[in-house]
Symmetry: C2
Subunit: 312 residues, 2 copies
Amino acid sequence: MEIKNVVVAGGGVLGSQIAFQSAYKGFNVTVWVRSEGSIDRAKPKFEVLKNTYLATLEAMKTNPAAYCRGLADDPKATPEQIDELKAKVVPAFEGIAFTTSYEEAARDADLIIEAIAEDPQQKIAFYEELAKHMPEKTILVTNSSTMLPSAFAEHTGRPAKYLALHFANEIWRNNTAEVMGHPGTDQAAYDQVVEFAAAIGMVPLKLHKEQPGYILNSMLVPFLSAAEALYANEVADPETIDKTWMLGTGAPVGPFRILDIVGLVTAYNIVIMNPLAKDPETTPGKIAAVLKKYIDEGKTGVAAGEGFYTYK
Amino acid sequence: MEIKNVVVAGGGVLGSQIAFQSAYKGFNVTVWVRSEGSIDRAKPKFEVLKNTYLATLEAMKTNPAAYCRGLADDPKATPEQIDELKAKVVPAFEGIAFTTSYEEAARDADLIIEAIAEDPQQKIAFYEELAKHMPEKTILVTNSSTMLPSAFAEHTGRPAKYLALHFANEIWRNNTAEVMGHPGTDQAAYDQVVEFAAAIGMVPLKLHKEQPGYILNSMLVPFLSAAEALYANEVADPETIDKTWMLGTGAPVGPFRILDIVGLVTAYNIVIMNPLAKDPETTPGKIAAVLKKYIDEGKTGVAAGEGFYTYK
């Protein structure tokens, strides 16, 4: 089966990006959301994406640093080739359908990408209702960052055609697509999802096993925790720690710059999952206290204009 | 006191680099080694360094990628300016004195940099003998990667003027100089060591507290362990893990490329320090087994021409 009809469930930040990128790459895209109100809230996100794609493509004509692999396979695309790509943006935008009907969404779906809230009860209810309407052919994937597909497989009605396809924010620029099955996922469905990820301009990153945090966060979380510990234990300041990492590994940014991008609230929520964080004398407790101080001052990261660094 | 006379104890890989770099930057340098045989073994390393400095400076005239900050402050140095720097290399090489005498080494030393074997008994014996000969002015630093200055301070006879100054391999290219005191280190001595590190073209990275692993390894070890765990647990292969890190963080290399540079024997020695590594069912046990397999096949990293990647 070739994937043509793609349904994205959820009109949030990632859902809208996945839908827009799929439409830009030529797939028939339907966005399913829970209510008419959700459609109204989602639509402006697509308007913003349309403008971002057009502006980024335009910038790519003259500025090599503007290049986004999700927008053009060739980093050396000519201005004429970029104009051809720009011509795809408005039709993609206009072609995206919206529905609140499970039946309408599922009817002829080759692939359904679930990108709804990270709430297991909501996901289970969604999957169970969806299962009543999906044709046999449909492959179902979740974009969940924090939950494993094995937790939901039995609720989908098609465990063999259910797996995870995990995107990063700003998918047209950050092209990771981690593909992860559960023990009952069929290889054929897995391979089709890998192929689809590549077809929408992502770099498919194959996991052979279920892994909480996938590949990237499995490394990022201990790395950032180690950096946070150095600062919370007053060994060194964020600037020195970042400089050391950059000089020592050649990386363009250090851990505190990454924390500013991730957002300090997310970092805080991760550290307080550790029961030790309740004790202010422990390293997790000290990290939580440092992050809370920044958060209380409104310094939550790049999005707020200030975190460990200032972006105003 | 201004630092002029620098003694480097140890003619190994790092000792010879620190001595050569200090001489290149205009300091009076004496290398102390244990025996005449050690002098014979050290001298060819200085010959190699001389040629490396000359060749790298020459390459910097035409190739911006060859630039090494330790060799020229200005990345845009002109060919004429580079010729002036090249003219310093041979006199630096010729000016380095060698001795096996504690007394001669210590007599007028402003700074002694200990870079002898990572063996606590050898270090203690060295410090206790040295203490008999050092004038009061001498600041003593250790380049130890794995031991804390507080472990040796009482043996130096001058705990207030004793601290750690930790270099990375290829110091003319990798300019990190982690500066770390123990609780009894005087601020004035600490500040002079920071100043000296900057004067020989390093980037001083200040630690406010003792920290095993300093800054860089405190982050690198958990980061590399997390990557090793993903591979040892068969979640993904090294190429995929590296690609994910590079795409996700913009880094030029991933963890397995770094492991090849660090060397798999070092990585193995770090993991077997964990008592869990004795149990083959644990993650550390699985990591140890994976690394041992590569090591047994001679794939120990870049230096061997092959590790996780091939460099032949």
